[in-house]
Subunit: 348 residues, 2 copies
């Protein structure tokens, strides 16, 4: 099994208050490079900061890294439109950062990027791949693509309180700027990505399509963003089996929604609970309270761990948090605005 | 321990008959990308061919990969001036392919590239790194830099018969085109690389210098090319301990030369014999006959293997050769022109 991380950006993330994948909007461009470095080296190398949320909660890359330290597996990062340098080695597919979806075209080269990613995926020698993503703002572009495809599936948020109305309004503006209506891109998923998606979607969908063609098992690691990619694949006519692997934090937040969506897109759904509630650890407590929830293939990585080894993963995660010095940013009392049980959340 | 591979090109390799790092001059640009893919994926992915010598002998990347399959270690490839695409993930330092050393400047950006590589090396979190290279034509640029530094050290060749006179003549032309004399770059090693070196040298020397500054142990994996880089580091005033790890094939060819050079540049020298003479295997026989000899960190990787596990490395290497289908290119009778014991050889 090879874990593939598609790391990219969309200017949509700069809209105030839609993403927690970075302490501030200025630092958000450094989140995907930092996530990739954390996964490869165990700490930031060229990135100026360890990616954290505005409330100080560490990136899920630290969980995925903890899994990797317990169960070694190869990691390959793809530059799916990075906007800042990284010391992590990346596969080059000539991806560009995505524009704000309220521009006329969010991913002008969606077709070409999908094709190059497909060709890369088809040539991989592996039996199985697990593909995750890191892209701040990715749940808004996921909602964009789902809406353009005519799929009524809600998305989650990395913020404790999901700014769903805001996302819907951005997507409405995005569709209008592209001159398309909700549902108009049915069976034309690359047109949906071009109009209101992001370069990570074109990359992950392309790699998955290519790998499936060659008989490689594909797991999409993530929550609603990966369900949007499953929708892209199904609308592209891909009928092979697909698994979506996510965390219990997504399931706790949107269990019925993701089950219905997995069913609708004919995906096996795997949910893994890292057992963070068994420890009294400030960062683990925050994950249990609904911050961050998923991202950087966290759920997919956890699905590789036998239940008996999850305690070892928690130990490694605590050690990594110590090493990164991230627990100190967190106030034991929790964030100022506690998660609203009536709304949802996830990922980036 | 992290194995770092600097993969790049110099147009010097296109001079007829100076490098065996590719079946034909046209295919040579694909050797570094193919080597990186072999190391990361175990087979070519985006590269059109498995790198072989003109006589059909497989790249030493296959040996390094065999070691990796026996003793897992992380591999990080740096794009040190690639001239063809690769599916291997690469660290980006904005390196450009090197010009023919008979141009006025072989590596116009040697200073900047060294600085960026130094900064990368200094930020690595590892305790120890082993740095290898893949660059067709690299022994000629090694001779160029050594000559510009005033160091009288011979270089080897990936060809069975080392075209030493040809290399000397190219270096003479290179120095003349740059307007410098032999020895003129003493204590100014980046000027030597700029005039008659290659981008891989600036990259490896930079990473090594940065890593040493931070207290990371550094092993230069290779033969005379790495000794040239040791010379660069010493002329740059770096006094930390350095190890050069190479293969018994280099030692068999130029044992006294490399011992003297290691001594001169204050390097510990490690020589590892993969025991290919214990098997009757067509490709192993060719290595024993003096083809290829070293490259892609082969000697450094072998130095990580306890003697008792070398048989397992040979088994993996045979399996990899089968998988790549490379043995079939080889004529059991050996190359047309057998190695000339009076001359020398190595690497790329």
């Amino acid at each position: 099994m090879r874990l593939i991380l598609a790391a990219g950006t969309t200017e949509t993330a700069l809209v105030d208050g839609i993403s927690a994948a970075g302490a501030t909007p200025e630092l958000m461009a450094h989140t995907p490079p930092g996530d990739a470095e954390l996964l490869v080296y165990g700490e930031p190398v060229r990135s100026p900061v360890t990616p954290i949320s505005p409330t100080g909660c560490v990136t899920p890359a630290a969980v995925t890294r903890a899994v990797r330290e317990v169960r070694a597996f190869p990691v390959t990062t793809i530059d799916a439109g990075l906007a800042a340098p990284t010391a992590a080695p990346t596969v080059t597919l000539d991806a560009k950062p995505g524009a704000d979806i309220r521009a006329e075209r969010a991913v002008p080269d969606a077709d070409g990027l999908f094709e190059r990613a497909r060709s890369f995926g088809a040539s991989l020698p592996d039996d199985a791949i697990t593909i995750g993503e890191t892209i701040p703002g990715g749940t808004t572009t996921a909602l964009g693509v789902l809406t353009a495809l005519g799929e009524r599936v809600g998305v989650s948020s990395s913020l404790p309180a999901n700014p769903m109305e805001r996302k819907r309004s951005i997507v409405r503006d995005g569709l209008q700027a592209s001159g398309i209506e909700a549902g108009e891109c049915e069976n034309a998923p690359l047109a949906a990505i071009e109009a209101v998606g992001d370069p990570v979607q074109a990359t992950v969908a392309g790699v998955a399509a290519g790998a499936l063609e060659t008989g490689i098992d594909v797991t999409l690691a993530g929550g609603t963003q990966q369900l949007a990619i499953a929708a892209v694949l199904r609308h592209a006519g891909v009928t092979d089996p697909l698994t979506v692997a996510t965390t219990s934090f997504i399931a706790a937040d949107r269990g019925e929604d993701i089950e219905r969506a997995a069913d609708r897109f004919d995906c096996e759904l795997t949910v893994t609970d890292p057992g963070f509630d068994e420890r009294d650890h400030v960062t683990m407590n925050r994950y249990c309270a609904g911050e961050v929830k998923e991202g950087v293939a966290m759920g997919g990585a956890l699905s590789l761990v036998p239940a008996g080894e999850l305690a070892a993963v928690r130990d490694r995660f605590a050690t990594i948090c110590d090493r990164l010095g991230v627990d100190e940013f967190l106030d034991e009392a929790g964030p100022e605005s506690p998660p609203d049980p009536g709304v949802s959340s996830e990922g980036r």
